[in-house]
């Protein structure tokens, strides 16, 4: 697609008429807010919705293991449902992200790619630990309970804490820290409640992030 009009070509410009300061302030606020909204790869409403979906998914996992004696782990049907939910959420997120960054080029897009790779690699950490635990004969409570519920929160959360801290992205930093803390708590509450604690901490982190970015967006746009 050729989207390159020649900047040397002549045209008549519409200056938009005289601007009084109040109108200018309003226009500046509106334009800034709208531009930030359009460039935002994680819109607060979608993020909050994702938080609710995560809470429901972890809630379903928790309900599927509730009352198990001995603990055997979540049932296959619930695990499949969670995978489908994760896949749909990931697809929607990628679509929204692509729309937000369409036409944008420069250092931030390259940095985002690197960050995405770091997070993807860290996601692999938990199944690796799970596999090793199984190999060494750890119980089902550990292999199919505590580790899959708590380890992703700690490993991925710590990665995000590092990335967010290096960019002074405080909403992400706070959200990731809350998730890491939740992961630590989940390690000590047993294999059943670990799912519930993990779901609640992810929900708090994600919804807290959505609220913080909404507040930040409003504060920055003010003239």
């Amino acid at each position: 697609m050729n989207d390159t009009p020649d900047l040397e070509q002549t045209a008549t410009a519409d200056n938009g008429g005289a601007l009084d300061p109040r109108k200018a302030a309003r226009l500046l606020e509106q334009t800034s807010r709208e531009a930030r909204r359009q460039f935002d790869p994680t819109p607060p409403l979608l993020t909050a919705l994702m938080g609710a979906v995560i809470l429901c998914a972890f809630g379903a996992l928790w309900l599927s293991v509730l009352g198990q004696h001995p603990y055997t782990g979540p049932n296959v049907g619930v695990i499949a449902l969670v995978y489908v939910t994760v896949a749909v959420t990931a697809a929607v997120t990628v679509r929204v992200h692509q729309r937000a960054i369409a036409g944008v080029s420069g250092p931030s897009t390259r940095q985002r790619t690197v960050e995405g790779i770091a997070v993807l690699v860290s996601i692999l950490g938990s199944p690796v630990i799970q596999g090793a635990m199984k190999e060494y004969g750890a119980s089902a409570s550990i292999v199919y309970g505590v580790i899959p519920a708590a380890a992703p929160l700690i490993i991925v959360g710590t990665t995000v804490v590092g990335i967010a801290g290096s960019k002074s992205d405080w909403p992400s930093f706070g959200a990731a820290l809350a998730v890491v803390a939740g992961g630590v708590v989940a390690l000590f509450v047993g294999p059943i409640d670990a799912w519930l604690v993990a779901g609640i901490s992810l929900f708090i982190g994600v919804v807290g992030y959505a609220a913080a970015t909404t507040w930040q967006g409003r504060a920055v746009g003010r003239v």
Partner: protein
């Protein structure tokens, strides 16, 4: 403070919207001409004229990559442009505070 304190290059609705939109990007990033045009809903000729004025003042940079059907123009706000918008916003604030 009077309205003369407002940078005349930015104090025009189309150019104010261009600069404010580009300032919403992280520093150093650029936006394709097509996306900018879509966002601002300006005609190509109108947008080009305003971009030239801002580029002549050193507020913007434009970079053309590729050629033929793959050609693409990216527009980014320079440090000078970002500083000018900050100064404009401060002047606007001062002016409105005094009204």
């Amino acid at each position: 403070m009077t309205e003369e304190a407002l940078d005349p290059l930015i104090h025009a609705s189309a150019r104010l919207r261009i600069v404010a939109t580009l300032a919403a990007l992280p520093e150093g990033d650029a936006l394709s001409f097509t996306r900018l045009q879509d966002m601002l809903e300006l005609t190509p000729g109108n947008l080009i004229t305003h971009l030239r004025k801002l580029e002549d003042a050193g507020y913007l940079t434009s970079e053309k990559t590729g050629n033929g059907t793959a050609a693409r123009t990216s527009i980014g706000l320079t440090g000078r442009g970002r500083a000018a918008l900050t100064a404009y916003t401060a002047a606007l604030r001062g002016l409105l505070g005094g009204l």
